[in-house]
């Protein structure tokens, strides 16, 4: 051995494979302002579109007069629902089985609804144009409070559904009803409640908020009249789905549609669905034969494209007097706004809300969800969470705290008593899921030890005494949250979008010199796929991650995938990548056997190549085998080294975590101070610990924002009062707490590399930790539940209502 021979450790390190804190390769361009986003795209002759929007939440559109607008220099067209009707596109299907107006057809149903689309030679003229379109409205009574949407005399919102007693998800029981979805055994659950020693019941609201990615929704559509081909560059989280939707509704052959998601500046669920802007830009391009750009501004993004949450969950738990939970019953009133534009898998109108039994072995449960229409923006997307999982986690985690309070038990102790035990996995929940793996007790205990949980409770007790004695005006809350996510939609047996199974895909092509390219059906919106996907391949086939280019987002080159949301990229696309790599490795093994003149079974894999068992000097590196694949393959074998895999996951993955938030609140001002936030995550095999940490930091920051102030709020007339970042709480680095992260590793037994999703866990687990901290702080003053968001004035209001303010 000479000194130049790399050690095993050096060979391993050179790969920068799984487990390596590899620096993000995409950041070289992002940190230098060299990203390539939709709005960076400038095509020759490109036109610009902008929307006339409704100032009313509910009104009849009496007339639209475009005369003055058409006289403005540069304005070329004003498109209305009447124009779209000529191509049968005045309405479009939603991913949730509903239909949605592209442009106001006879009436408007929410403030800032799209009424007309002005096309002009530049953005200034387009904006001049929208201000010159004259629309005559006749205001109608509005439905804003979801609890009155199904009143007998509530105004009829969806006249297009008149007489339809059945919707996409079964019977409708009122003209403003969308669907009812139930799951679980009602009789058994009712019986558990009858027998229970202790029950709690609380209406727990998860308010309406918005994913608000920094880059808003936008697109450029370019129709070539000669070839009949339509190219669409857009901020899409699922570009292939967009291509298929366009093919189905615009009746353009799918091979003539090219959908490209370039760099995307955050999605968080906001960029999964299809929006009127995409349809209008496409129609405008088809009509004019020129490229048309549509770029949403911040106000439009917050007020018109998909919101999240707005779930009002009447939550009941039944338990024995010593704290064993025996039943869970939840009714949800789900406010979908004017159109049901959820982006859930098609058969799941309330997403995976039936994960609401959480991390606990609850023997019986029943859930019913009523979706309703109101005069608010449409949607109900999964804002950095798997479908309705954050609502479910908030529901059960608040519920457990409320139950602990009623039982006089410590909330951590109550959780430990009810956790699913490690030996119970795979665990079948009362509401129908099969949890793949978990070790909740270990995670919880590690969290409690790391933060000195008992010490925090002692400190809290003494601070409460001091408060009662009048020595301090601060109260202290300790918020515990233990969440189980369900991510990686999903198995074809129960997940599809518009009939397309929710698989994902990867195609790997290795080049003769030992480098290669992998194309994947997912689409990074900031998650760092260009970095992590190459790490999976590096470990699987021994080619350094630096030598693998990752490409996503171009439907002409990437294999069909269902996109990135619901933390599905690693569970589904990540698995497809590993499987494609394994196909390549299998072929490489055959080539190695041929070259080394042994049987394949006599070879063993060793970091970056194959070695003959017992003869360590007989070795072929993967790099050698790449070259060989192009000139020295065994007789009868096709040359080349590439593979494609479409992965249909056998199950979801179930990441989990133990979070704790320590907070002090000044009761006189309601100002809070986050003293400590500790997040332990278990996402199975960790591909890139640095990126995981970054994901946790980002998701916790969103959770902090949502719990402590971020909301889309409407006044009684249906005006959005939080339509800009002046009022919609978007924390800066100054407000954001310091995050402590930790982990345990419980691999997924069914995933090729044992990995689970992670990007959304901190949003799911973080919100209940913050809210539980606030509620825990106030609980000794006699409250059971205070609704989010917990901004300063609401904290003060809570203190006031509880009689905690100085006279």
């Amino acid at each position: 051995m000479n000194d130049m021979t790399p050690t095993r450790e050096q060979r391993e390190a050179k790969l920068e494979g799984m487990g390596c804190k590899r620096k993000r390769v995409e950041d070289a361009r992002f940190t230098q302002g060299k990203g390539n986003y939709v709005d960076d795209l400038k095509l020759p002759g490109m036109l610009h579109g902008d929307f006339v929007r409704s100032p009313h939440a509910h009104a009849r559109v009496k007339s639209i007069n475009s005369e003055a607008a058409m006289k403005i220099p540069g304005v070329l067209a004003v498109i209305t629902a009447e124009t779209l009707k000529t191509v049968n596109l005045a309405w479009m299907p939603t991913l949730a089985g509903d239909v949605q107006m592209v442009l106001a057809d006879g009436k408007v149903l929410f403030q800032n609804q799209e009424v007309a689309f002005v096309v002009a030679t530049d953005r200034y003229a387009a904006d001049d144009g929208i201000n010159a379109v004259e629309v005559e409205y006749e205001p109608l009574p509005v439905v804003i409070d979801p609890f009155h949407a199904m009143d007998a005399d509530a105004p009829v919102l969806r006249e297009d559904l008149a007489g339809k007693t059945t919707g996409a998800h079964g019977p409708r029981k009122h003209h403003n009803h969308v669907f009812e979805w139930t799951v679980g055994d009602k009789d058994l659950t009712d019986a558990a409640f009858r027998k229970a020693d202790v029950t709690i019941k609380e209406m727990i609201s998860y308010h309406r908020t918005h994913p608000s990615p920094l880059e808003t929704c936008q697109c450029v559509c370019s129709f070539d009249k000669i070839s009949g081909e339509l190219s669409i560059w857009g901020t899409f989280q699922a570009p292939h789905v967009i291509r298929t939707v366009v093919a189905l509704i615009a009746k353009i052959p799918e091979q003539k549609i090219h959908v490209i998601s370039p760099d995307v500046g955050g999605g968080f669920g906001n960029k999964v669905g299809a929006y009127p802007g995409y349809i209008c830009a496409a129609v405008a391009s088809i009509v004019t034969g020129k490229p048309v750009k549509w770029v949403e501004d911040r106000i439009e993004n917050l007020t018109a494209t998909s919101f999240a949450r707005d779930y009002h969950m009447t939550t009941e738990l039944a338990a024995t007097k010593d704290g064993k939970v025996t039943g869970l019953r939840v009714h949800v009133l789900a406010d979908h706004g004017a159109f049901d534009a959820c982006a859930d898998p098609s058969k799941w109108p309330a997403g995976f809300f039936n994960i609401v039994t959480g991390s606990y072995d609850i023997p019986t449960a029943h859930v019913s969800v009523d979706g309703i229409y109101t005069n608010k923006a449409p949607g109900g997307v999964a804002y950095r969470c798997s479908f309705r999982v954050t609502e479910a986690a908030y529901c059960i985690e608040r519920g457990m705290d409320i139950l602990a309070q009623k039982l006089g038990m410590d909330p951590a102790e109550l959780r430990l008593k009810n956790f699913i035990k490690a030996e119970q996995f795979p665990y079948h929940s009362a509401l129908g899921w099969e949890y793949d793996s978990g070790d909740y007790h270990t995670a919880m205990k590690k969290m409690m030890e790391s933060v000195d949980y008992a010490g925090l409770r002692r400190e809290q007790a003494s601070l409460r005494e001091a408060f009662k004695r009048g020595e301090t005006r601060e109260i202290m809350g300790v918020g515990v949250s233990f969440f189980t996510e369900i991510v990686g939609a999903g198995p074809s047996k129960n997940c599809d979008i518009l009939g397309i199974a929710m698989f994902d895909s990867c195609e790997i092509r290795l080049h003769p010199t030992g480098a290669g390219i992998a194309r994947v059906g997912s689409k990074s919106t900031g998650q760092g796929h260009e970095t992590t996907w190459a790490q999976i391949i590096a470990t699987e086939i021994g080619i350094p991650a630096d030598d693998i280019k990752i490409e996503e987002g171009n439907t002409d080159t990437a294999p069909y995938g269902l996109g990135t949301y619901g933390s599905r990229s690693t569970p589904v696309a990540g698995a497809a990548i590993a499987m494609a790599a394994r196909k390549i490795k299998a072929k490489a093994q055959m080539i190695a056997a041929w070259l080394l003149e042994v049987h394949e079974d006599d070879l063993e894999w060793d970091i970056d190549g194959f070695r003959v068992k017992g003869l360590p000097e007989k070795f072929k590196s993967m790099k050698d085998l790449c070259w060989a694949a192009y000139h020295a393959v065994p007789p009868g074998m096709e040359p080349g080294l590439e593979a494609v895999s479409y992965y249909d996951p056998p199950n979801m993955t179930y990441p989990f975590g133990a979070y704790i938030c320590v907070m002090n609140i000044d009761v006189d001002t309601g100002v809070y101070k986050i003293r400590r936030f500790y997040a332990l995550d278990d996402c199975g095999t960790r591909i890139n610990p640095m990126i995981i940490e970054g994901q946790i930091h980002g998701g916790l920051t969103e959770a902090f924002a949502i719990a402590m102030g971020q909301e889309i709020r409407y006044d009684d007339a249906g005006n959005v009062v939080t339509g800009s970042f002046m009022d919609f709480f978007m924390p800066t680095a100054v407000e954001t707490p310091h995050w402590e992260t930790d982990f345990t590793v419980t691999p997924s037994p069914h995933h090729p590399i044992g990995a689970k999703g992670v990007g959304e866990s901190p949003n799911v687990g973080g919100v209940p930790a913050f809210s539980n901290a606030v509620n825990d702080a106030f609980s000794f003053l006699g409250s059971t539940h205070i609704q989010m968001p917990h901004d300063f004035w609401r904290n003060w209001q809570a203190a006031k209502n509880l009689g905690a303010l100085a006279a």
Binding site: R123, Y124, T669, R713, P731, E735, F792, W793, W796, Q797
Partner: protein, 287 residues
């Protein structure tokens, strides 16, 4: 979020700016840092036909000590205030307040003249100027005049500025050596306007308050001087009962609007707390 079309003018002297504003009339607006006007234009809540950019006028910049007064050119940015040794030495409360305005990017562009002249009740500097007894130099087609800050504000966005007039500089009497000061601002986040804020400048003698001025931000359609509250504390040692009375007197003149920062009752309540905290902290700083 795209403004309408407008003509852009960049005069090199105050005289030229006044001439432009006078001749162009109501359809012209002066442009300083632009942090209020430009968003209004992008939302088309303002659509001036002419913008008269004051950035080309060198005479509108600078900070000078002149005897017992400090004079600040209207186009001096918040960042320049923060970088000034003279401000840190003579008017530390101005330094403290400028730091609480928005974020560094905004402070690089935002000017003190724009902040005080716009009449926005959310701005921090107007109440502080009233507290400090500052006066504004207004120059217009009919010459120059001085208006004290406490008489400048007439309503939300309504000020003593006459058509064609520009606020060109601010003159602030330097508070007595050893004075105490504090600007207490409750805000939801960086970049937010105050939920309520209070400015206090006071002097102490023999453990008692010798002089005191209290200004209030964003609790009324104009900035306020809490004169009764200030009168109540003079001659006292700021004992708890006095603090409570002073806060109550300040709250009595507040009339904030309910908004996303909270209902009226909350904003008044925390306004009182800001007064108490500013008085307490200012007193502790006296020498």
């Amino acid at each position: 979020m795209i403004p309408g079309s407008f003509s852009y003018h960049r005069p090199a002297s105050v005289a030229d700016a006044i001439k432009l504003l006078s001749s162009l009339g109501d359809e012209a607006r002066p442009l300083a840092g632009g942090h209020s006007l430009i968003p209004m234009m992008k939302l088309r809540l303002a659509s001036p036909d002419h913008l008269v950019d004051l950035h080309g006028i060198a005479a509108l910049k600078g900070i000078h000590r002149d005897g017992d007064r400090v004079s600040i050119g209207a186009m001096t940015t918040q960042h320049e205030l923060l970088a000034s040794d003279e401000i840190a030495r003579s008017l530390p409360i101005l330094h403290e307040t400028a730091l609480l305005i928005a974020d560094p990017q905004v402070r690089y562009m935002g000017t003190i003249g724009g902040n005080v002249a716009n009449g926005d009740p959310g701005n921090d500097m107007p109440a502080l100027m009233m507290t400090l007894g500052a006066s504004y130099r207004l120059e217009g087609p009919n010459g120059a005049r001085e208006v004290v800050a406490s008489e400048f504000y007439q309503g939300a966005y309504f000020t003593a500025l006459e058509p064609g007039e520009i606020l060109t500089s601010i003159s602030i009497p330097v508070p007595a050596a050893g004075h105490g000061y504090a600007y207490e601002k409750l805000k939801r986040k960086i970049g937010d306007y105050a939920t309520a804020a209070a400015a206090v400048v006071l002097t102490m003698s023999g453990g008692k308050v010798a002089s005191c001025a209290i200004g209030l931000t964003n609790v009324h359609e104009t900035p306020l001087l809490a004169t009764e509250a200030a009168r109540l504390v003079v001659g006292t040692s700021l004992d708890p009962a006095t603090l409570k009375q002073a806060a109550a007197a300040a709250v009595a003149i507040m009339a904030p609007a309910a908004d996303a920062r909270g209902p009226v009752e909350y904003r008044k309540h925390v306004g009182g707390i800001m007064v108490t905290r500013a008085l307490t902290r200012a007193a502790a700083l006296t020498k």
